[in-house]
């Protein structure tokens, strides 16, 4: 044990001398810094995190929610009826958003989804989103089906942050994109045909949003 302590002491002294010698032999002042993960990034309100990139690889598969400490996260929100307020999907009523199938009632005439990106990634990333409502609105007895159409992603035009592109169902984040705090990047709509030509009944639909990030 004493030998180990002595050895450690000697090594530390050697390192000290080595660095002292370097400092004395140069007048350069070298600066080095690291921008911490998620520096300048805040978690947006009213959003559901679905895409995780540049995690530390610990936990589950890299790029998934199981990966720890991601530098970039894509958030999805559904908008309120006036399409002004963001809402996390998990905050939606358990029974579902009330929708208007006939055009005569109160409720959503359509549902707008908004995608926001928060992060300060160092590498380029690609988010591929799959939004689906395969079964449409189905009645309680499963005999009536009213299709729900999901539009492709639309970017936010001139408001799109530099380094981000939206194409089809893909959102690309370029390497070195500056830190973004919940910057809105794209939107999509779930729509259905409003008509009085539907059979009576209680209808439900489930929209699933899946995101793969790489």
């Amino acid at each position: 044990m004493r030998k180990v302590l002595l050895f450690t002491l000697i090594v530390l002294i050697a390192i000290t001398f080595a660095f002292a010698g370097t400092a004395q032999s140069s007048n350069d002042v070298k600066l080095k810094s690291t921008v911490k993960d998620n520096s300048g990034v805040e978690t947006p309100q009213g959003g559901t995190a679905i895409g995780f990139v540049e995690g530390d690889g610990e936990g589950e598969e890299e790029g998934t929610s199981g990966d720890k400490n991601p530098k970039g996260i894509l958030y999805i929100s559904y908008m309120d009826e006036s399409e002004t307020a963001f809402n996390a999907l998990e905050d939606a009523p358990v029974s579902g958003l009330i929708c208007d199938l006939t055009g005569n009632d109160t409720g959503y005439d359509r549902v707008k989804f908004v995608f926001r990106f928060a992060g300060n990634v160092s590498r380029a990333h690609e988010y591929v989103l799959t939004i689906s409502c395969a079964d449409g609105f189905k009645s309680a007895n499963s005999e009536n089906v009213i299709p729900v159409t999901i539009s492709g992603l639309s970017d936010v035009g001139s408001s799109l942050p530099a380094g981000i592109t939206v194409n089809g169902n893909t959102i690309n984040i370029a390497a070195g994109t500056k830190a973004l705090q919940a910057a809105t990047v794209a939107s999509s709509y779930a729509t259905w045909t409003q008509s009085e030509e539907y059979a009576a009944g209680d209808y439900t639909a489930t929209i699933t949003v899946a995101c793969s990030a790489k």
């Binding site: 579902g96 009576a200 489930t206």
Partner: protein, 200 residues
Amino acid sequence: MMRKLALTSLLTLMAIAVVFAADPTNKVSDAANLKLNASIEKGQGVTIPEGVTLVGNLAIQYRYGDEETPWEYVSTENLEITDLGERAGRVQLRCLYYGNEPESYSCIVSFASDGWARTMEDGKEPTDADKLAIIFEDAESTSSKKFEVDIKNSGFTLNVPVSAPINGDVVATINASWADAPDLPAGEYTADIIAAVTTP
């Protein structure tokens, strides 16, 4: 010494586990669902003509005359027959469906009548000589993808799959007929035709 080291390591690991468990980015999902719901009321999109009373989901119309005679909905008004006894007669009846039922609609439709009977004075009961039978015949269903109709004696069974609103589509027709009866005693005669709709 070793025990303290082991205990310290254990506590550190537990602390890390708690911290990571509280991390909101650690939700185990890269997919999310949003549920929608909506209701459509019975009768929405269904327009029943003013003054028409449905029997079940059916409206009954009649026509007395040739093919050019317009159909009329059954009402409280009497249909007057002016040549009873002189010649055979026929009233055409048909059923029209109205509805947007959330589940398939089934019913049994039957027509019945005690026939013509003379209105007797002093409360007497009419005899057979004072009566003239009405029979139901030549029932026909209307071919349609909207309905399943099975003709029975004096009526039919109807099954309507779940569908968009149906506004008065003809389901079936049937004739209520009587023979000529020159021997009928003079007098006032009345008859009732009853259309019964039974749902299971």
